[in-house]
Every structure is written in structure tokens, then in C-alpha cells.
């Protein structure tokens, strides 16, 4: 089968989908949607623009650091900034996100220092931030596992009796189009559904699971699967930060209000390689990437700001300068990240000291010390 014969089938639901929520066109024109009113002040829009630029710049820096051998690997979010910033900014302080390994933009919204993300990909630790501090769980690499954690966390919120109160939060599970094939993800849908748990399933459909196109995971638009599980599903323009913000806000609000789970399919595109070790020229056409470039999530906000006279060159320059400064600081911090001490292998495996671990740790320390004696 050639790339072309596979592409001959139109993507499910691609043409004229009535449920594609869009509030900002690729040209930067504001459009209304009856179900998703959105009032943003000029400051709000400028802030969103700044977020988008910042996370793209941070991501680019991480890619560069990987190329230079400073990180083992990096999963770029290029193209998915709007889906992540829109949904990330929709969360409140009580909400809890359950990310994959690509949610750098959401991490940014939740106040996780990007250096933590780099540390994971550099191999310094496995993440290590405190999820409760940020309302942002640890990165999960095993595809789909975290969706069940989100469902369970939501069941906990439900049992706390806070739904419908100002202290209510919801869980939001991030996952990809490929993940929708996993048993865990489908089980998460079932649990969330039958328990009416306050969880939003936020699927970034970036059209690819490494080399496998969407058609290999589904024959119907993904958001339509939700109906079969018994909760609402909606498809949103994943490159439209306004729409992602509005739709996720509504979904989270419903969940916090006790109205149960929902599914948001953010229709977007993975503009880069799957990770820095991947070579997409083996399986997809450059033309696809070019077509999606025209729908760039940042350009349209910029056009909107310009078109409405909400920002001038000075603003754009200052955002770029800030992003550059942040990237430089991040690079320097990454380069000076200390390697963990060998003893760290034995840490945090159990809550209490563990006899076997302690014995191995001591034996290993003595073994390492024996070399020092020799060289001394």
C-alpha cells in the first residue's frame, strides 16, 4: 500500500462536520458559536498569545537541546499549542490534569517549571514534580494508563461531596488519537460513565500515532464514540485557542457541577516528528504538513490582534524577546542540571526504609568506594 492509496479515503468526519466548534478562523476572524459564547478582554487575548509563543519557544529549545545531545529524546508539541493552552487555561485551581508525555503547554499553564520536563527527558529523574502542588499529575508514558487514574481521581472528588460548590474541581485526562484504541482508555470511559464521574476526556487528535494514521484507530470521528459510552462528545478546532478554551471551560464546569463526564476531541496536527528519534518522511507527505501550516494556532491569534488593533509591533517584539530570554534561561539551567548521585537509584522506592534496598545501597556504596581507594 502506498501513502497515496491510504490517503484516498477521506479522513472520518473531516469534510463539513457540523460539530466542529471554531471561534477563531485560521485567518484570525472571530466567529460565534451558539453553544460556546466567549468573552475575552484584549488583555486575555494578549495573554493567550503570549502563552502560545512561550510554549512554542520552550519546545523549540528542547528540540535543539536534544539535537545537541543534552536530552535523550523530546516529544514536541509543535502544532498543538492551542489545544494545550486553551484547555490548560480553562482549568481552575481545584482541577487536576492527567497528562501524557507531550503536554508541555498544559504543564506551563499549571506552573510546572519546564526544567522539570527537560530533566525527565534528560534522564535526571522520572519527572519528580508534586502533582498536588500543580494540579498536574506526572507525565505518563504508557499509552492510556492515566485516563483510568483521571476517572478514579474524579470518583474521589465525587466522594468528597464538593461537586456543585465553589470548591469543586474536576479531572481532565489528556491522551492522543492512538490511545483511544487502548483497553485502559475504553475502561476509563466506562467507569467515568457509569459512576457519572467529574472528568473531561481531552483527546488531542493530532492525526498520527507515530507512523499510524487516524484510520488505523477509528472508522468514526472520535468524539462520536462518547455517545456509545453514554456521555457527550464534541469536536473542537484544536488549532483555535479560543474554541479550546471555551469548550473545555464548559466541559469542566459541567463536571464540577455534577453533570458527569464528557469527551472533547481537539482536532489538530502533529507538525513535527513523533519524537526527536522519529523520521516522518518515511510515512507521510510534506504536503499534509504544509496544508496544516496554514491553520497555525499562533498566526491566527496574531492576525486577530492586528486586525482588531489590539497589539502593535512593540507588543509582538516584547513577547518574542521574553520567549527568547526564557529559552536561554532554560537552556542554561538544563546544562547545569546536576547528574543524580548513584545512591538515588535506591531512593523513593518504598515509604519506609526497606532492608533489601538498604543492604544493596550500602554494598554498592562500599563497592564504589573501593575504586576511590584504588585511585587515591
Amino acid at each position: 500500500m502506498t501513502i497515496d492509496s491510504m490517503r484516498a479515503t477521506p479522513r472520518p468526519g473531516e469534510a463539513a462536520d457540523p460539530q466542529f466548534v471554531q471561534l477563531l478562523t485560521p485567518e484570525g476572524e472571530r466567529v460565534e458559536h451558539p453553544d460556546y459564547p466567549l468573552d475575552l478582554t484584549p488583555d486575555d487575548v494578549r495573554d493567550l498569545y503570549r502563552d502560545l509563543v512561550m510554549v512554542r519557544r520552550i519546545d523549540l529549545e528542547a528540540v535543539a537541546l536534544t539535537r545537541q545531545g543534552e536530552l535523550g529524546i523530546w516529544a514536541s508539541l509543535l502544532g498543538q499549542e492551542a489545544a494545550q493552552i486553551g484547555s490548560g487555561r480553562a482549568m481552575n485551581e481545584h482541577d487536576m490534569a492527567f497528562p501524557t508525555y507531550r503536554e508541555h503547554g498544559v504543564a506551563y499553564c499549571r506552573g510546572v517549571d519546564p526544567l522539570n520536563l527537560l530533566g525527565l527527558f534528560r534522564g535526571v529523574n522520572h519527572g519528580g514534580w508534586n502533582p498536588a502542588e500543580h494540579g498536574f499529575h506526572l507525565y505518563t508514558i504508557v499509552i492510556g494508563s492515566q485516563t483510568l487514574h483521571a476517572a478514579g481521581y474524579a470518583m474521589g472528588i465525587q466522594r468528597d461531596g464538593v461537586l456543585g460548590t465553589p470548591g469543586a474541581g474536576a479531572a481532565i485526562a489528556y491522551f492522543g488519537d492512538g490511545a483511544t484504541s487502548q483497553g485502559d482508555v475504553n475502561e476509563a470511559f466506562v467507569f467515568a460513565s457509569v459512576f457519572n464521574a467529574p472528568v473531561v476526556f481531552f483527546c488531542q487528535n493530532n492525526q498520527w500515532a507515530i507512523s499510524e494514521p487516524l484510520e488505523r484507530q477509528t472508522r468514526i470521528p472520535l468524539y462520536q464514540r462518547a455517545q456509545g459510552f453514554g456521555f457527550p462528545g464534541v469536536r473542537v478546532d484544536g488549532n483555535d485557542v479560543f474554541a479550546c478554551l471555551a469548550v473545555t471551560r464548559a466541559a469542566l464546569a459541567q463536571a464540577r457541577d455534577g453533570q458527569g463526564p464528557s469527551f472533547v476531541e481537539a482536532y489538530t496536527y502533529r507538525m513535527g516528528a513523533h519524537t526527536t528519534t522519529d523520521d516522518p518522511t518515511r510515512y507521510r507527505h510534506k504536503a499534509d504538513e504544509e496544508a496544516w501550516k496554514l491553520k497555525d494556532p499562533i498566526e491566527r491569534v496574531r492576525s486577530y490582534l492586528v486586525r482588531n488593533g489590539l497589539a502593535d509591533a512593540g507588543f509582538f517584539d516584547s513577547v518574542d524577546a521574553d520567549a527568547k530570554t526564557a529559552a536561554r534561561a532554560l537552556r542554561e539551567a538544563c546544562l547545569s542540571l546536576p547528574d543524580p548521585e548513584p545512591g538515588a537509584i535506591f531512593e523513593h522506592v518504598y515509604a519506609e526504609p526497606h532492608p533489601l534496598m538498604t543492604a544493596e545501597q550500602e554494598a554498592f556504596a562500599a563497592y564504589l568506594a573501593s575504586f576511590e581507594e584504588v585511585t587515591a
Binding site: G72, R122, G123, V142, S211, Q217, I345
Partner: protein, 326 residues
């Protein structure tokens, strides 16, 4: 006999290709195995040559891969499943342990499931979590599965063909950090039995047992020890289940000392089985207890620590020294 110089990865590719040519019922299935040729390119070019009906890019679901492979096998096919990385076999653990391993017994022998599950395993490639694990003990512990681990291009080719030809399910471990090692690979002829261990370095003073990625490290240790006048015999297990105990015991009987090396954690690891069995068989000939060198009994560490975690030449020689100091 034709031999071709191949990397271990290319030897696997050649083995798959040959098995597919020889038997139209052989299928390859897994994530990204088609057009991409797998993330390690082990299935490179197979879909182009054998078609998408036989080289199947599956949905992203490991339980699905193994579960449907069982169905295909029930229908007379001989699926070779690729699990992308060691740490991702666990969603399929249920299908492997409760179904694949037990179907023959459940059917009183009327059902065979000739399925090979290829799993790149082990660390040393600077990867993130779940990409460096050595889960062989879980599967060796599961009766009904055959479990093998190749360590070099020659075995990679021969053992993969033999595994695919097996009428029992085979868990086939591939040493991912050795994918780029090269050797002349005989493509035809008589191969040693799939479940035989091989003495890969003859020696007289101590027997070192290893499999998969650790074999090369042990050979390096043997070379280093030789320069200090100590003769290490290195045996490549090749098969974990069944286990070629006679070959192992004969060596330990001769040397009187034994060290087992693997990347997996030592505690309740495969080395424990070896130590127990060989102690029983060679008790009166042993000069020292059988020692084990392996990963620590911790989760696999972040990659900046993996050089400390993985058994290296020094730790192997240290254990060898300790068996002499006993």
C-alpha cells in the same frame, strides 16, 4: 552455506523475511511495523514485499495485538507479534498469561498457538521510563510459554526462524542495545537447537552465565580476566524456558564456581532459578556459592543512572573475585 554480514537488527529482518517466504501463514503484526518498518526498523521493507494483509500495522493496543494473534492462530495462521518496547508488554500480560500459555492444556492438546512475541529488551540506550526493562522472569515463570533471548546476529536469525516454526508460543527477547552489532550470519544449514545453551568462551576457572545483552559484557569481562591470568567460561543461555541444564551443570562441575549475570533485578530474578538448580546439581563440586550480578532490586532508574545500574565489566569481575575469595 551462504553467510552474510549483518547487524543483529538486519539478521532479525532476514529471519522474518525467510519465515514469511517459507510459510504463507506467517504474519507480522504490531504498532508501526508496516510502512515505518518498526521503531527499530526490524520489519523494514516487509510490508512493501509481503503486503498489508501479512504485515499488519495494528491499532495501538497490546492486549489487542496478542488477543487477535491468538484468534488468527486458531484460524491456522502463525503470527509474529512485535511489542514496541519491553515496558509495553504489560497491557498484553493478561492475554499472554491467562490465554496464550494455557490454551494447549485447556484443549487437552487439540489447540496449538504457534505465536512468536518479539520484545526488544534491556537498557543502555539512554531512554525514558519503560524503554529499558528486562521482564523475562515474569514470562519464564509462566508455564506454557517458551522463552528465549538472542545475544548476537547469528542467533538472532536462526533462533527467530526456529521460534516462528515452533508450535508452542515463544516469547522472543531481543537485546535492543545490540541491534547494531555485526557478524557474518549463516542463512542456511543446521542450527543448534533453539533451547540449547552455548559455550561462547571456553574457560576453566569459573562459569559465567548470561543471556541477551549481558553476553557481550561477560565476554569483555572474560577477556579482561584472561589478561590477569584468570580463565572465565562464558555460557550464553539462549533459552530460559526450557533450560539447558546439562550444558550449564557440566561447566559448573568442571569449574566449581559460577556467577550469573542479567540486567533484570536480582531479587526473585531468573538468576535465582539458575543458582538454585545448579546448587542442587553441582553441590559437591561448588567451591563457593553461586553469585548473581544484576540490576538492583529497584525500578529501572532514570537514564543518567543506568550505567551504575546495569551490570558492567567491573561488577562482573568483582563477583568473580568474590567467588575466589570465598
Amino acid at each position: 552455506m551462504t553467510a552474510e554480514t549483518l547487524t543483529l537488527g538486519k539478521a532479525l529482518n532476514a529471519g522474518l523475511r525467510r519465515a514469511m517466504e517459507d510459510d504463507p501463514k506467517v504474519l507480522v503484526m504490531g504498532e508501526d511495523v508496516g510502512r515505518l518498518g518498526g521503531v527499530f526498523r526490524i520489519t523494514d521493507g516487509l510490508q512493501k514485499d509481503f503486503g498489508a494483509e501479512r504485515v499488519i500495522d495494528t491499532p495501538l493496543a497490546e492486549s489487542g495485538i496478542v488477543g487477535t494473534a491468538i484468534g488468527l492462530a486458531l484460524r491456522g495462521y502463525r503470527p509474529v507479534c512485535e511489542i514496541q518496547f519491553d515496558g509495553f508488554v504489560f497491557p498484553a500480560a493478561d492475554q499472554i498469561i491467562t490465554q496464550l500459555a494455557k490454551m494447549r492444556m485447556r484443549s487437552l492438546g487439540s489447540v496449538s498457538l504457534p505465536i512468536t512475541i518479539r520484545i526488544p529488551c534491556g537498557g543502555g540506550i539512554g531512554a525514558v521510563e519503560h524503554h529499558s526493562e528486562s521482564p523475562e522472569a515474569y514470562f519464564a515463570h509462566t508455564a506454557g510459554l517458551r522463552v528465549v533471548a538472542c545475544s548476537n546476529p547469528v542467533d538472532a536469525y536462526a533462533m527467530l526462524r526456529q521460534s516462528i516454526a515452533s508450535d508452542d508460543p515463544v516469547i522472543f527477547f531481543e537485546p535492543k542495545r545490540r541491534y547494531w552489532e555485526k557478524a557474518p550470519v549463516p542463512l542456511d544449514g543446521d542450527f543448534p537447537s533453539l533451547h540449547s545453551a552455548q559455550v561462547v568462551q571456553a574457560g576453566t576457572d569459573v562459569t559465567v552465565l548470561a543471556y541477551g545483552p549481558s553476553v557481550k559484557t561477560c565476554l569483555e569481562a572474560a577477556t579482561a580476566a584472561a589478561s590477569e591470568g584468570r580463565s572465565i567460561e562464558v555460557i550464553d543461555l539462549r533459552s530460559l524456558n526450557p533450560l539447558d541444564l546439562p550444558t550449564l551443570a557440566a561447566s559448573v562441575e568442571r569449574t566449581g564456581r559460577c556467577v550469573v549475570v542479567h540486567e533484570a533485578p536480582v531479587f526473585a530474578g531468573f538468576g535465582a532459578e539458575l543458582a538454585a538448580r545448579l546448587t542442587e546439581l553441582c553441590f559437591y563440586r561448588l567451591e563457593a556459592p553461586i553469585l548473581r550480578v544484576g540490576g538492583f532490586s529497584t525500578p529501572y532508574p532514570p537514564s543518567r543512572l543506568e550505567d551504575e545500574y546495569l551490570p558492567d565489566l567491573d561488577r562482573i569481575l568483582d563477583a568473580v573475585d568474590r567467588t575466589f575469595a570465598w
